[in-house]
Structure formats: C-alpha cells, structure tokens
C-alpha cells in the first residue's frame, strides 16, 4: 500500500459501480440470498438448493416468521427480511471488460444479480429485531428523514419553542 495519499493508491478514487448494465437484465435472486453466521472460506458456486433446505419452524418472534435449516451439523434459525420500497440489494462483481487490466487493481464493479429480500440466519439463537443486522435497517428511516427535501410549509409547521423566539 502506498505510503502517502491516505493509504490509497490514486487509482482507488475511480471506484465505479454499474447497476444498470446498460439495461441488460440481471438474475433476480430474491428468496435465495442467505446471510449465515459463519465465514465459509470459499468463493464460488455450489448446489445450495440441494443441500440447504429451510423449513418453517412454527415459531414467530417479533412478528418474524422463523425458519430453520442445518449447515455443517449446526441448527440455524432464520428470518426473511424484505428490503424497503425503493431499495434493492445487488451482488456485485468486478466489471468483466476490465479483465485485461489486472483484476486486483480494478475498482469498477457491476451488478451480477439483484434481490428484494434476504434471509438472515443465527446459530443458537432465534432471530429478533435486536440482531445487529436487523438494526442496520434503522438507517433507512434516518436516511429518509435526513435527505427528504424540505419545503416552506414544512418549516412553518416546525414545532418551535416560542419562549425562546
């Protein structure tokens, strides 16, 4: 890594993410994205649906429908979370046209697949709204409040403490 420039080589400032792929349709993985509570030291494809068979557990927690599945002998409890309206999840890959340049130095990404929900799995505990990952969804509401355009009427109805004014 480069000493100066805050630790990033100059090329790094050219990170791009291409979600549209020029209108080309990408695979829809809705219902097939699983976040497991482990790190699998493998990157590639495998026959997930032949081996990983989630079933409804008959339990509901925090309004979440709890599913169960087994991986490497461990029992996992999961819940499927829909992404809020206006949001999509994407599986990114290094842009294929950049293969001629070294993949290691390329920071151009493109969407290989998209999804509208994902299933979050816990080992040894039931999913709940207090799970760290669930809590990241709080950001959606905060972001909306922060970025929603403010117009004159909104300002007029702002609850202002009159004594101070």
């Amino acid at each position: 890594m480069d000493g100066g420039n805050e630790g990033y080589p100059l090329l790094r400032s050219q990170t791009t993410v291409d979600l549209s792929r020029n209108g080309e349709a990408v695979a829809d993985l809705t219902g097939k994205v699983h976040l497991l509570p482990c790190c699998i030291k493998y990157d590639g494809s495998t026959s997930v649906s032949d081996y990983f068979k989630p079933k409804f557990s008959g339990i509901e927690v925090d309004g979440l429908r709890v599913e169960e599945a087994y991986f490497r002998g461990r029992k996992l409890n999961g819940a499927t979370l829909p992404l809020p309206d206006g949001y999509s999840g994407f599986i990114l890959g290094k842009k294929s046209s950049d293969e001629k340049t070294n993949a290691e130095t390329s920071y151009c990404w493109e969407a290989n697949a998209k999804f509208q929900n994902l299933t979050l799995w816990n080992h040894d505990s039931l999913p709940s709204n207090d799970d760290a990952f669930m809590r990241t969804f709080h950001w959606f509401a905060v972001a909306k409040a922060l970025h929603q355009p403010v117009n004159v009427e909104d300002l007029e109805y702002l609850p202002v403490d009159e004594d101070v004014v």
Binding site: Y8, R12, S13, T15, P37, C38, C39, I40, K41, Y42, T46, S47, S49, D50, Y51, F52, K53, Y70, F71, R72, G73, R74, K75, Y107, W109, H123, D124, A132, R135, T136, H138, W139, V142
Partner: protein
C-alpha cells in the same frame, strides 16, 4: 411410536420396565431409545420368550421377536427416535449437550410418557450410559416412586431390558432402511451399511456423499470424530459463535489457536476487522449498528 393407546387392565398393577438404546455409536442415522413394560407378575413368562441382547440375535430373529412382543397383549412398548440432525446440532451448540445427557433425557422422556398414559411403574431397569451410580441417583431424584436398577450390560442380564433392546434395535434398523435423504443432489444412494465408522459400506457411503461446502447430508452426525478425518476435503468454516467463545475467555484453547493459524490468521484482532464491518470513527448511531462508510472498495 408406542403400543396401543387403550390402557390394559394389568397396567394399574405394579409394573416393571426395561430401557435400552440402539444406534449410539454409528456416525449416521438416528439414535433410538426403546422401552418395554409389563406387570411384575408377568416377569416369569417374559423370561421364557427368548429375548436376548439384541446384538447377539440375527436380524430375522429380532424382527420375529419384535412382531411377537407387539402382538402380546401383556406387554407394552414405546420408542424415542432421535434424529441425527438433533444429535449433531445439540452436540455442536455453543453450550454443548453431550451424548450422555441426550441419552439420559431420552430415557427419562420414555419413563414420563409411560407414566403419563397411566402405567403404574414400580421398577425400571436401565442399561447404563456413563457412570451407573450417578445415573441411578439422577433417575431416582426425578422419579422418587420408582426403584431403579442401572447396570452395565443390563440388556443381557434382565429379559425386560433385552426386550427393550429388541424394540430399539429393530426400530433403528427400519428407520435407517427406510430413510429418505433430505438432500436432492444427483447420484445419492442409500447403501449406508450399519452406520458404524468401521463398516466398509458406511465408509464408502461417506466417501460418496462428502461435499466440500456442506460436509455431508444431514443423516450424518457431524459431531462424530469420524467426520473430522474428512475435514481436509472440505472448505473451512469459521463460526461467529465460536469466535465469541474465544473473545469471552482469556484462556483460549490450543485447538482453536491451531485452527486460526492454519488459515493464516495470526492476530485475532485483525481477523474480525477483516471480516466484520465496524462503525469505527463514526457517530454512535453507526457504531452501534456496525455501519461503516465505504468510499473505496
């Protein structure tokens, strides 16, 4: 599974029961606990029924004896079939439940079940799992009105336990014979053999069904030592629940350290930074939710 639900007359007289297990050692398939009970007055007749330790009997003989005892109106029976998924997952929980505990729970579950249908159990004979004396104390505490005889080789000493061993063994064999694999990959077969790790058929089946990502079909007991010998053929998986264990205690186990060195993670701290997002340097809202701002990736 159990005998007819209508409670026979003899069940309100003092009864004896035997409990035994089948499929404790195998690396695959369910473990079955079986029990057989009858009136104490039937004990003499029971010893003429040629029940013997199920392991010393041929399969056809066991099947025949099982059919006979099912037809015998003076005998009741019940089984508890413990799915291999349950065995693996309990033994691989963060707070591990060992096989002895699972066995004890199953045996006690059978006693509870038989009592709950109204059988007057006064004596229960159990083939021991672990220390016989401790096991006896545990059982007597739970069921103070029952006299327990806990012994090694109870299945060859007491006909009522021999009978239970036949119930358990036949149920286990049938369960494995009729097993429908949950997995749907191509070229799977059901020539499991006995399930014992030394059985050549079982070895061949394990070899044919190992999978680099998923390990094995869920019929296999992942918590068995036999499975570890296949780990070289499998992709390594590091569990968050195991990491927490490690952080929680000062004295990390040598085994765990070895595992981390194997995959090239020496400083543990670095590892979690690599794999986990953090909200380092951001306001509390983000830190608490591990939301990191990534401008370069």
């Amino acid at each position: 599974m159990e005998s007819e639900t209508a409670l026979p007359k003899w069940a309100s007289k003092p009864c004896i029961m035997g409990i035994d297990e089948a499929g404790r050692g195998p690396v695959l398939g369910p473990m079955v606990y079986g029990c057989l009970y009858c009136a104490r007055s039937y004990q003499k007749t029971l010893s003429t029924l040629n029940f013997a330790d199920s392991k010393t009997l041929k399969e056809e003989k066991r099947e025949e004896l099982f059919e006979n005892l099912k037809a015998d109106e003076s005998i009741g029976w019940a089984v508890d079939v413990i799915d291999p998924r349950e065995l693996s997952s309990k033994m691989l929980k963060k707070n591990k439940i060992n096989l002895n505990e699972i066995s004890h729970d199953s045996a006690m579950g059978l006693i509870r079940k038989v009592l709950s249908i109204g059988v007057l159990l006064t004596e229960v004979y159990v083939d021991t799992v672990g220390d016989a004396e401790k096991y006896k104390v545990k059982l007597s505490e739970r069921f103070p009105n029952i006299k327990f005889v806990v012994a090694k080789k109870a299945d060859s000493l007491y006909p009522v336990v021999s009978g239970a061993s036949i119930v358990a063994k036949v149920t286990r064999d049938r369960a494995l014979r009729d097993w429908v694999l949950d997995e749907t990959a191509a070229n799977m077969h059901t020539t499991f053999g006995s399930g014992y790790p030394g059985d050549p058929q079982t070895k061949a089946w394990l070899e044919d069904h190992k999978h680099s990502i998923f390990g094995f079909p869920t019929l296999v007991r992942f918590s068995w030592g036999t499975c570890t010998s296949y780990s070289k053929d499998m992709v390594e998986v590091l569990w968050e629940t195991d990491d927490a264990d490690e952080d929680g205690s000062d004295g990390r186990t040598g085994k765990r350290q070895l595992k981390l060195t194997n995959v090239g993670f020496t400083p543990v701290k670095r590892k979690s930074e690599e794999t986990e997002s953090s909200g380092k340097g951001r306001c509390k809202f983000f830190q608490a939710r591990k939301l990191e701002l990534l401008s370069h990736f």
